[in-house]
Structure formats: C-alpha cells, structure tokens
C-alpha cells in the first residue's frame, strides 16, 4: 500500500507542476517572440537560467507548506487524506486541518486525516502546519472525483482441494457490510503452479455487494491432478460502485495460499481410475522419488513433462474409447512400474424405443434400447431407473453382467385404479445422464399372453364350444379374440369373437356352421379393445365333429353287361362333405312296375352291384348309409333309348381337358352323362362318368387317369324321362403321340417299271393318336448301301409320297426302271409326330418285252435276209453259176465283177480284173507302216462305238493292196474247185462287209490305199501292213490275199490270252496255221517281225476278245 500510494502522489505533484510551468511559460513565450528577431543563443541561455530561478523560487516556497493532498477510500464512507509535509517539518509535526462540510470544523492532527465522505462538489480544505512558520497555510479544493477507491485486499478464508476430482475450492469474504450501498465487485483469482509459480489460471469472478458480509466460493478443476504439484491461489478485487465518481482501482492481491499433497513414501500415479469422455484431454502425473524413465498410454509412449522434484506428467489429448478393462497409463522407473487406468467412454445415450405394455394388466413391462454403447462396464456401466411420476414409485434396473445391444426391460407392478402412467427412464453413468419419458394409458397397451388350455366340446354335428384360458385381470376391458378354423384341404377361416374381460381368465365361445364329421383345427389369439397387439396364436386343437346323415345319394350309373342279361350298377363314393360321416354300406334297389329287386347292406368299399334283370324299364335307386342314417336315394333309369344316326367323332385335349360339346336338346330333362373308357378295353367298358346339368351344352373332361397316347371313348348320354340316350360318341386323346410302330407293308406286285405296295393298319394301341397319313419314300438303292439312312435329308433322288387318305392301303409306284433295286420306306404319322420307318428293298423285273424285241428283230432280219438270199440264190443259181463259177470261165463273161469297176473308178491304180493290163506274175507292192490289225466283231461290239477307233488306227496305215487278179488267176489255174467255193462265199461277205466297212473305208483308205482291194475279202479282217522290202512282198500278198480258213489262227500259237507274249507282240514270231495247213506255205517263208503283231489281232477269238477288252 505504501508503495502504490507514492506514485499516485507523484503524479499529482507533476500535474501541479505542469500547471505552474504553463502559467510561467506564457509571458516568457511573448518575450521570446520579441527576441526571436535578434536570434541569439545567449538569450536562450539567459532565459533558461531565469526560468530555473523562478521555478526554484516557487518550489522553495512550496516546500514550506503542506502540499499534495491526496485522498483515498476503501469503503466509500471514510476518506483518508494525506499530504506531503513541509520540508522543514519534523516527524512529529502537527497540523490544523479545517474543512467546510455544512459547518466549519477544524482538526488538529499529525499526518493525515480520515474524514467522512463528503458530499459531491468542491470542498475547501485548509491545512495549517502548527509550527513556527505560521503563515504557510495550504488551501486545497477537495472533490469526490479526486478521491480514489481502493478496496482492501481480500482475504482468503479457506483454500481446499478435492484431490479425487482435482478441484480447488476457494472461499473468501467480500466484507460487503462496510460498503454503504450495493455495488458490483469483480474478483480476480490467479492460480499458480509449481514452485516457480507458473500462472496456470487467471479468472475474474463477478459478485455484488449487498451490505452484508458474504462468503463467496469459487471452484476450479485443474487439468493436472492436484497431487502432481503445489498449487497457489491469490485473489484481488475491484469495486465498481456506480455512485462513486472518483477513481476506482484494483485492490492488492491477497496473500497466496497453497495446496500441496503430502507425498507418501511410495510412488503414486494420479489420477487413479478416472472416467473420461472420449476425445477429452487429461494430464497424468507420477509422484515419485525415483527417476521415471518412460511413460506410455496403452502401447504409445508419451513425452515426459518434468514437474517439481522427480515428479513427471504426461499430457494425453483426444483420448479414444477404452476397452472394458480401461486404458492403462504406465510409468516405468528403473526396476518397477507404476500406473493408473483411465476409462474413456460416453455418457449414456437417451434410451431409445421406450415402450411400456402389459400382458395381464397386473404388471407393466417396459423395454428400451440403450442406444450408443458407452464403452463403460462393470461399476461404470449405465444404471437405469424407471420412475413413475403419478405414484412416485420407481424401479431400478439391475446391472447385467453381459450387456447386450438387445432391448433392456424392467417390470413395474401396476397400481390399483391407475390407468395412466407417466414413466421417466433415467440412464446414468459416471459421465452423465439422460432420460426418456413415456405417458401411457396402460389399458390401451395390453398385449395378452398366449391363450392356453384350449378345449373343444360338442354342441351338435355342426357346432362346438371352444374354451380357453387367458391369464390376466381384464375385468374392465373388452377382449377381441380371433378363432382360426382350419379344415384339411380348405382355406382357413377366421372368426372374431368379442367378449367382456373377466377376472378369472376363463373364456368360452361357440363356433357354429361347421360341417359334420370333419376334422377341424382350432387356434385362438386375443387382443384388447382398443387394439394394441395380438397375442401369439395358441396351440392348435384338433377336433372331429360328429356325424350327420349323408346329405345326398351317391352319383350312380349303370351299364348292361356284355351278354345283356345283367345290369351293372356303379356309384361313386360320396365326397366327405356329403357323406357327413363314415359310409358303412349302400342299399341298391331296382324297381319296375311289376317287381322290385333290392340288394341291401353292400359294404362301403364296394361301389358296384350286378343285378340280373330282364330288359324291362327299371328305376334303380342307391342309398348310402352311415351310423346316423341313410342318404336320400339317387335314382337312375335302366332303359337306354336307341339312337341311330351316330357318328364317331374325334377330340383331342385342349388346355386342361377334353372339351365335349353338344347341341342343346330340349328333350333332355334330367341331365347329361358323359362316360368314358379306354378304347382298348372290352365291353362293358367304364372308366368313369360325369353328370352335367341339363341346361349345359359342353363340359370339359379331366381325369388323372388319362394317359397320353391312349385312345379313349367318350359317350354323351342325354337323360330323358324314360332313360338315357346316347347322343354322341367321341374318340379322343389327351395327347397324341407318334406311332410306336411302322405299318407292316408288303410288295404285292412288281413289274419292270412299277411296284405295288400294300400295308396293314396299325393297331390303335400302337398308333397313339389319330392317324393323319403315311409317308412313303423310295429311291434306288441296294440293301447294303448306307445312303438310305439319310432318307429325310431332302435329297433329290429320294421320292416321297405323302398319303393323306388314311383309308388307302395300297400304293403303286410307277415309272421305275426295270431290274433295279429300290429301297422303299413307309411310316405313319399322327399329329403327335412321325412313327418309325419300315423299309424294304425291291428289285423291279426285267423289261421282257424290250428284250424280246431286241432279240427277235435281229434274228428275224437275219432269217429274212437269209431266206431271201437263199431264194434269190436258188432262183438265180444258174445265173450265179454262170457268172461266178462257170464251168469254163469265159473271160468275156467276167462281167459279174465289172460292177465294181464303177466303184473303183477314178482310182488310177485300180486295175482289178481288168484283163488287159493284168500282166501275170507281176506284183505291185506298196510300202506300208504296220499297225495293229483289228477284227471287228459286228455282233458283240457296237459298230458305232468301234468304228472310229478302228478308223483312227487305220488312218496312218498304208494297206498293202495287191492286185487281186493274179492270185485269182493263179488259183484258178491251180485249184479251180477251191476257187469256186471261195468265190461263192465271197459274195455273201462282200454284202455283209459292205454294211460296215465301206462306210468308213471309202473315206480313208481310198486316199492312202489306192490299191485297196474291193474284191474278195476274207472273213478275217487282217489288216496286215508291212514296211518290207521287196522280198517280203510275196509273203505279204499271201497273207493278205490268200485264202484263209475261218478258223481262229491265233489260238494255235497264243498259249494264253493274257500271256505277255500276246501283248508284247513286236518281238513275236507268229506262225499262222499248222504245217499241214493249206497255208503251210507260210511256214516256209517266215514272216517279217513287224508283221506278226498285226496278225495277232487278226481273227475273231476269245483271246482276241480278252485282249481287246483292256483297250476298251
């Protein structure tokens, strides 16, 4: 206080000084302006000296008077004024202080004066030092504005610490009683830490003074555990009194108070077991006497913050959620470890989906979901309290050791006569709390228990009573129960029953409109009105209702037995809903006008009875009986009304079944009956029947017994008064299939160009559908060829006939080739597909007529020619003889051959039979090249085919043409008889040869062979050529022109037709004839090498045939 006071006084003093100096400065400044014109440094100096002198004079005078009056107040009631004593005044100097405050009052005192607070405005104060210099009286003007308000330093009443929460509690008194009126106070509190007093907190705290002493509290939670270091706290204040116009200043700081933890000898880590919000920061310290080496949180090492002594701390920021056993913080020293556990988690989430309901109106069960996990377990786990505000009762949730995220639940005992409950569920854990509320009218939140003990009792065969137990006291509310009635193979039916709730929990309901003798399954569930939730379904209760008499007679039909003597009565078992019980037996009776026959007590599984009847008109009635009674009889007339114009129609299943339609017949009064059976069964055939009301004209027949590919017969009967009349007969399939077999077919007849095929019908069982036709394929082919396998590949050589006329059973295939193998295939088809195929190979017969013609015509021609020739020759035999073989040849008459001359005309070389130029023994030889001679077989080989080849061979040849005459002449001379014979045959051969040879030869030979012989030619067409010298000419002439027997000369020397020699003919020496031959002359003159091959081909022979064949 004294230190602070001094500077304030000085400031006032300086302020006063400034006033004075300004006052002094003004005149000097005027003088200064005058002297400025002279501008002299000396004048400046002089002025300064003068100024200093004047100031000194003033000061010295002041020093002799009390000065610097300064007033302060700390309570606004008393002003404490002080002044500076005159310089000469001793310590014990006394002053007389007078001031005007309403009245003039003076005080005699030593140093300072405490005066009551003066009214606002200026007040004069005179201070007169009471020592020897009496004339130095100081006068001051005192105003409140010049007074400073400096409160006393506050005093800390108490500083305490809660180490567990690291909280400092500060307590002090505001001493408000000393202040006259209310005013605001600002407190400033500082917290210092460690021995070097680092400021860790500086806060202001506002209060008001209310005229009484008030103790104030301030608490502060340290970020560092208080055990870690010494904490110091100081406080000061500032009174902000609005009525006080003077200066207000902060008080001095209070004396510091400190908090420190007296460390025990052992090392400790702080804080221990702290529960924290995830993400917050915390400082952990280790108070120890040992040197801490490291610190870690979990497995993460942290930098050490050194505190006083060997204490260290670590700062953990943004801590993450702990596992259940907490997060370990461990400080390691040389040979030990110390630590603490931090539990970081979340405050409890608001309980979600809070729902309260009751099962029985006795107990309320509230369920909720805890929401976000808190990561805190064990003692830190969330505790729940369910509080009901109307009754003020509450229940606590017992901690579950294994917290699950499933819903939690609490039971609250219902209070009598309370329906509305206002529940508040409070969730609390060390980090905070939350709550959720629910206002519920519990009578609207009834979720009944599952109904139990369901029992069924008979009322009648169509009604029962159901009783069950539903725990709960529902006396004041209405219950709605649902009864589910399940019948086998039927949709389940739900019936609602509303009933008043009762206290004793037993309920009863009647269920009617049931079917007799039917197994029902009942189950029940209930809810309350207004609806909240259904209970679970009760267990199912099965019950069989009692029997009743059958409601209808059985569906009946009758058939006459095949011998027509017995009537077979069929009936169908009654459906369960008409039987109304177990059918025990049937009674059948047949009654006509005259008589009644009856069969009674036919046991149930039998649904057929046979009665011997004459063909009278009977009415048959069938009655079914169960344990309760008999059904009404079902009646049917035995008579069948004939119908003449019946056609058999066809039908195939469309969609679900076979649709049968018929025209409306007004005569039909009772009903229509459609009966059907498998067509392959014998009579009486009945698979089933169906009755259709008389007003309908169509029905669809469905049956599980229908099989695809099986033919069924359907008969539509119309019922008239007298009996049934067959209206329509239909055959049908539920599904057509392809035939399983091929039609059996045979070839009835074959000719050279046609085949007649006949086939059999396929049996109905194997047809498996309506026959739509046959497919007949045929083609040329042998049995072993495989091309028939690909019959249907659309090959063009396969001919197909589609026979759609199914009544056709034969087929003639015409335009075939004779003596050819044909492959025939037949298959049947239905709408279901093609059946398998059946094939057969047939060879057509030879075309006998053509063959015969081909043979007969040449034979006939030959015969005719022969006959004609013979006749001619016979007729002209004289002439012939005269001409060709006269007894005495008359050269004059040698005209018979002169007709040739015309042929040879133009050939200068031709001198045949021209007597004059014919000089005997003169032989003309032409050079020829050898070629292979060929013998034409006119009969076997077609002349058209052979001729060109022959001619090409012949083309390059130069035939040796020998003058015909000399040999003839020579021969004639030697052997006239032989010549005659040769001449006779020569005529024929000329003719025959002219059919062929001249056609080609004249074109070729005449050019090359000017001397071609046109006269006699041997039957052996030996085209011998030679490239020989003159010497060989004779032999050649002999060969070509000499007489030859018609024998095959080649066979004589050709060993085997296919021997190499025969082909390799160039080196072959061929000899014609035998030594004893008429041509034995040849033997003597061996032929040229080149000749022999040519002669090889001469003559018609088998060998020749074989040899030629390869050339073909």
């Amino acid at each position: 206080m004294p230190e602070d006071y001094t500077p304030d006084v000085r400031t006032d003093y300086i302020a006063q000084m400034m006033d004075i100096s300004l006052y002094l400065k003004r005149p000097s400044r005027m003088g200064d302006s005058k002297r400025m014109r002279m501008t002299s440094n000396f004048q400046w100096l002089l002025l300064t000296v003068l100024l200093l002198y004047l100031m000194n004079q003033v000061n010295s005078q002041k020093k002799r008077t009390p000065r610097d009056l300064k007033c302060i107040t700390n309570n606004l009631q008393v002003w404490d004024c002080s002044w500076r004593a005159p310089s000469g005044a001793g310590h014990g100097a006394a002053y007389e202080v007078c001031f005007e405050n309403g009245s003039h009052s003076c005080y005699r005192l030593e140093k300072n004066i405490k005066l009551p607070a003066l009214l606002p405005g200026d007040h004069e104060i005179t201070i007169n030092p009471l020592h020897d210099f009496g004339n130095f009286i100081s006068k001051f003007t005192l105003n409140e504005k010049n007074v400073s308000l400096i409160p006393d330093a506050p005093e800390i009443l108490d500083l305490s610490a809660d180490f567990s929460t690291s909280t400092l509690h500060l307590k002090w008194n505001d001493k408000g009683s000393v202040f006259p009126h209310h005013s605001n106070v600002i407190w400033e509190i500082k917290v210092l830490r460690k021995k070097n007093m680092e400021i860790v907190k500086l806060v202001t705290h506002n209060t008001t003074l209310n005229g009484r002493d008030t103790v104030h509290h301030w608490s502060w939670i340290s970020d560092m555990p208080l055990e870690c270091a010494t904490h110091y706290v100081g406080i000061r204040c500032y009174i902000d009194d609005p009525q006080f116009s003077g200066r207000k200043e902060w008080s001095d700081w209070s004396p510091l108070k400190n908090i420190s933890w007296s460390p025990a000898s052992q090392t400790k880590v702080f804080p221990q077991d702290r529960v924290l919000l995830v993400g917050s920061d915390i400082t952990v310290c280790c108070v120890t006497q040992e040197k801490v080496l490291s610190a870690q949180i979990g497995s993460t090492y942290c930098p050490l913050i050194h505190l006083d002594g060997k204490n260290v701390a670590i700062k953990i920021r943004n801590i993450s959620a702990s596992e259940s056993s907490g997060t370990n913080v461990v400080f390691s020293v040389e040979d030990n470890m110390f630590g603490t556990v931090i539990f970081a988690g979340y405050p409890p989430d608001i309980p979600q989906k809070l729902n309260c309901e009751t099962y029985d109106l006795k107990e309320i069960i509230c369920t909720w979901n805890p929401g976000r996990p808190t990561f805190l377990v064990g003692p830190r786990n969330t505790s729940y309290t369910l509080f009901e505000s109307f009754s003020g009762k509450y229940v606590r949730f017992k901690r579950v050791e294994l917290p699950t995220n499933e819903s939690y639940q609490l039971f609250f005992q219902m209070l009598p006569n309370q329906e509305i409950y206002n529940f508040t569920l409070n969730a609390r854990n060390p980090l905070g709390q939350s709550e959720s509320t629910l206002l519920v009218n519990i009578t609207e939140k009834v979720h009944p228990h599952i109904p139990t003990s369901v029992k069924v009792k008979d009322i009648s065969s169509t009604a029962v009573t159901l009783s069950w137990h539903l725990p709960g006291s529902f006396a004041k509310i209405k219950l709605l129960c649902q009864i589910e009635i399940n019948k086998t193979n039927s949709v389940h039916e739900l019936r609602n029953v509303t009933m008043r709730g009762i206290e004793n929990s037993s309920y009863l309901a009647a269920v009617d409109k049931l079917n007799p003798y039917t197994i029902y399954t009942f189950r029940i569930r209930c809810c309350t009105d207004p609806f909240w939730k259904w209970s679970k379904w009760s267990n199912e209760k099965q019950y069989l209702t009692t029997e009743a008499i059958p409601s209808k007679g059985p569906d009946t039909w009758r058939e006459w037995s095949s011998d027509g003597k017995n009537l077979i009565i069929y009936w169908k078992p009654l459906p369960i809903n008409e039987a109304n019980g177990k059918i025990l037996s049937y009674n059948v009776s047949c009654s006509s006008d005259e008589e009644t026959q009856s069969l009674s007590e036919i046991p149930d599984p039998q649904h057929k009875a046979e009665i011997q009847l004459d063909k009278n008109d009977y009415i048959i009635s069938v009655v079914a009986k169960n344990s309760v009674g008999s059904s009404p009889p079902s009646k049917i007339a035995s008579m069948e009304i004939p119908n003449d114009d019946l056609k058999i129609e066809q039908a195939v299943r469309m969609g679900n079944g076979i649709l049968l339609t018929w025209n409306y017949d007004p005569n039909v009064t009772c009903d229509y009956v459609i009966k059907w059976c498998n067509s392959s069964r014998s009579e009486p055939c009945l698979m089933d029947w169906k009755k259709v009301p008389s007003n309908s004209t169509e029905t669809i027949i469905e049956s599980d017994q229908f099989r695809p590919g099986v033919r069924y017969n359907f008969f539509v009967y119309g019922c008239r008064n007298q009996g049934y009349q067959l209206l329509r007969s239909i055959i049908g399939y539920v599904e057509e299939l392809a035939p399983v077999v091929a039609p059996n077919f045979t070839v009835e007849d074959t000719s050279a160009d046609s085949i007649l095929v006949k086939w059999e019908e396929i049996p109905v069982e194997e047809l498996r559908g309506f026959l739509r036709g046959y497919l007949f394929y045929f083609e040329k082919g042998e049995r072993d060829t495989s091309k028939m396998r690909v019959l249907e590949s659309g090959r063009s050589d396969i001919k197909v006939k589609n026979i759609t006329d199914i009544s056709q059973k034969t087929l003639r295939i015409a335009d075939l080739q004779g003596k050819t193998s044909y492959h025939l295939v037949l298959r049947a088809y239905t709408d279901g597909g093609m059946g398998p195929e059946k094939s057969m190979f047939v060879v057509t017969k030879e075309n006998s007529v053509g063959l015969i013609i081909a043979i007969l015509i040449p034979v006939a021609v030959a015969v005719i020619v022969g006959v004609v020739t013979s006749i001619l020759c016979y007729r002209k035999r004289e002439w012939i003889k005269e001409t060709f073989y006269p007894d005495i040849p008359n050269p004059e008459n040698c005209k018979a051959l002169q007709f040739q001359k015309s042929v040879c005309e133009g050939n200068s070389a031709l001198k045949t039979l021209e007597m004059n130029p014919c000089t005997p023994n003169n032989v003309e030889v032409l050079e020829t090249r050898s070629t292979v001679p060929k013998i034409e077989d006119t009969e076997i080989i077609s002349p058209v085919a052979e001729r060109p080849e022959d001619s090409t061979d012949a083309q390059p040849e130069n035939h040796v043409v020998v003058s015909y005459c000399p040999p003839v002449i020579e021969e004639e001379i030697v052997n006239p008889g032989a010549d005659e014979a040769g001449g006779a045959s020569q005529v024929i051969y000329i003719d025959i040869q002219s059919m062929y040879q001249p056609q080609a030869k004249p074109e070729e030979e005449p050019e090359n062979d000017p001397v071609v012989g046109t006269g006699y030619k041997p039957q052996m067409h030996l085209l011998v050529t030679s490239t020989v010298e003159d010497l060989a000419a004779d032999d050649d002439l002999d060969k070509t022109a000499g007489y030859r027997p018609q024998a095959n000369v080649n066979t004589w020397n050709l060993v085997s037709p296919d021997s190499p020699r025969s082909t390799d003919s160039n080196s072959e020496i061929v000899s014609f004839g035998s030594p004893c031959s008429i041509n034995s002359r040849q033997f003597l003159i061996p032929p040229k090498d080149e000749d022999s091959p040519k002669s090889n081909g001469g003559g018609w022979s088998f060998t020749n045939f074989f040899q030629n064949k390869p050339n073909d």
Partner: protein, 202 residues
C-alpha cells in the same frame, strides 16, 4: 491323469477319508501329483488369458514384470539348496500356505475381473477353475500331511483388509502377480510332489 477333468476334480475334491485310520501316503501323493500336473498344463493359458484381457502393455507380447510382487502372497522362487534341504513338513507347509493364499487371491482376482472385464466369461471361468483346483490341491496336501502324521497348519486369512481400496491398475497388477505365482507355485508343487512320490513309492 488321463481321467476326464471333472471326474478327476470330483475325486480330488472329496475330503480325505478315514482321518483316524493311518493311510499310506503314496495314494494321496499320487493323486496330488496328478492334479498338480493337470494344473500345470493350464497355468500358462490362464496367465495369457488374463494378460490379454488387461489391455496394453499387459497384453503386449512378451510382457513380464518380475518386480511386481504381493506382500500377501509368498513368492514361489526359492534357492535350490534351500528347497532341497526342506523336510517333508516344511515342504508341505510351504505349499499348503501358498495354495491357501492363492485360493483367496484367486477369488479376489475373480471379483476384480468381474468388475473390470465382465464381458470376458472365459477369463472368469478360468480364474474360477484355477481357484477350485488350488482348493483341490490344498485338500490333497492336507491328506498327505495326515497320512504322514504331520500337523495341518490352521487356515489363515492372508488377505486381511488391505486390498479392498486398490485402484484398477493395482488390481490388474495384483491379478497378474497372482496368476503368475499360481503358475510358479504349481510348478514348485509338481517338483515337491515328485520328490515325495519318489520318497514314498506305492
């Protein structure tokens, strides 16, 4: 030894029969030895499970803090010479005292862990099983002492009032020491009983 564990435990937990009649020590020694061997198989599992539930650094691989000890639990470590020089009474008394302390400490650790790790039923079950086995072994040792005609030391409350204010970290460390010492004492008991078994053959 190869008997199913529950059956084995059941037989071992039966009070020693016929206290009056002197009994051959071989049979209880053999039974105790079998039980100790069986316990030995599970001690490391218990320690590992325990450490795994305490979080890092306890659950870090290779964690070991041999410096941690409990004043209320006698350490099993003993010099071989001292151990070998023990007579039957001392040997059995040591084991008796240790397993008595262990049963109480295991109970304490079980309680601690049901607060710290209520969601780890495996750990709690293993601690409970270890305590039951320790009790079983206690009974067997008592039977051996009876058979040998040795006085059975009275049961003491080794825990006293001290441990209840322990912090979570102290509890974790305490549990660690207990489960560790349980293993050490079991190992020692196996050796003790093997020695006795050799000494008193059946």
């Amino acid at each position: 030894f190869l008997l199913p564990a529950p059956l084995c435990l059941l037989t071992l937990l039966l009070p020693p029969l016929g206290l009056g009649a002197p009994m051959s020590p071989a049979e209880p020694i053999s039974q105790a030895y079998s039980l100790a061997l069986y316990m030995q198989k599970n001690t490391s599992t218990l320690l590992q499970t325990y450490l795994q539930c305490q979080g890092s650094p306890f659950s870090d691989p290779g964690f070991s803090a041999p410096e941690l000890q409990l004043g209320s639990l006698p350490p099993a470590a003993v010099s071989f010479k001292t151990w070998h020089a023990l007579n039957d009474r001392e040997r059995l008394s040591c084991a008796q005292g240790a397993f008595l302390a262990l049963t109480q400490h295991l109970q304490l650790v079980g309680d601690d862990q049901s607060d710290l790790n209520p969601g780890s039923p495996i750990l709690l079950a293993q601690l409970g099983a270890a305590r039951l086995r320790a009790q079983g072994l206690l009974g067997n040792i008592a039977a051996i002492m009876t058979a040998l005609g040795l006085p059975i030391p009275p049961e003491e409350d080794t825990l006293g009032l001290v441990p209840f204010g322990a912090s979570a970290f102290e509890r974790k460390c305490r549990g660690y020491v207990v489960t560790r010492e349980y293993g050490h004492w079991t190992d020692r008991a196996v050796r003790d009983l093997a020695l006795l078994k050799a000494k008193y053959p059946g």
